[in-house]
Symmetry: C2
Subunit: 162 residues, 2 copies
Amino acid sequence: MPNSVAVKRAARLDLDRFLPYRLSVLSNRVSGAIARQYSDRFGLTIPEWRVMAVLGSTPGLSAREVAERTAMDKVQVSRAVDSLMRARRVARLADAEDGRILRLTLTPKGHAIYDAVVPVALQLEELLLSALAPAERRALDGLLKKLALQAGLLGDRVRKNP
Amino acid sequence: MPNSVAVKRAARLDLDRFLPYRLSVLSNRVSGAIARQYSDRFGLTIPEWRVMAVLGSTPGLSAREVAERTAMDKVQVSRAVDSLMRARRVARLADAEDGRILRLTLTPKGHAIYDAVVPVALQLEELLLSALAPAERRALDGLLKKLALQAGLLGDRVRKNP
DNA sequence: GGCAATTAGTTTCATTTGAAACTATATTCG
DNA sequence: CGAATATAGTTTCAAATGAAACTAATTGCC
């Protein structure tokens, strides 16, 4: 093979088949549709709703714990809590043991909203999932679990190789 | 049933099992890891990369067509093109037939970057997919197709019921 | 031809976002 | 004890974002 500096054509990249891109478009579409519902019907942003959602099932979390469970950052949580408190949907109380910690709960008003939003959320999810048969739903669940786990590693890997 | 105003407890909502939420967290993690790579290694933002990605496989698109294919909005495309042009990675030329349209292409410099980024992108995707067996990958592909389709309807449905 | 309505793309402006700095409390360790 | 360090949460400031207004060219229609 004389004079061979092989021309390395990049492997073809088709955005429509590129998993990160597909996930992003799908997630944005779904979140967009949901955000519109929450905003139109309940005056809630997605971060606000996420905070309410975790407090609904686990009252008494601190802001940091909320951030942990929702994969939001602490600034986002702080701001969401701020606006929820101004709307009297969330209340907080200093922790008895650690003065830095503020424990968050839904107020009765917040709980009423929570109880109204949950069915809407579940209905939207069901509308999305209605495209899948039960076996497919189970398969999706398993696949997403594996991908979420792997994505965690991926994040670490990237963070550790600067 | 005397005095019965049934207390309707909302169906329980567990964020960790709520599909829209899972998609959002997964997509954000993946996009975050990728964005870091693109930014660190090539000085590209995700919108910039998306524009380059479609132009790499389909040169001569207009900004509107790029927006269509990437699910970005036209403002985002306009800004990404602007910065790519300032970096001499993308060039544009007025369409001969329609004076409003500017046809976009990668410059040689842009193409060189494209050829360097593609393997990195594919490698990241492969790292993510390495958690799945071939049959699982095919299953995922089919499930995402159905969900993407359904999410489209969902968006429409929501838009049409104000 | 020429005026109204569309379409491509950019700019403006107000809002959202995130990184880093900051405040206040808690813990560690010499 | 008390200085150094760590953690919870807030504030600040600069950059990213998106809706709406805007410019410029085109098409439809009388």
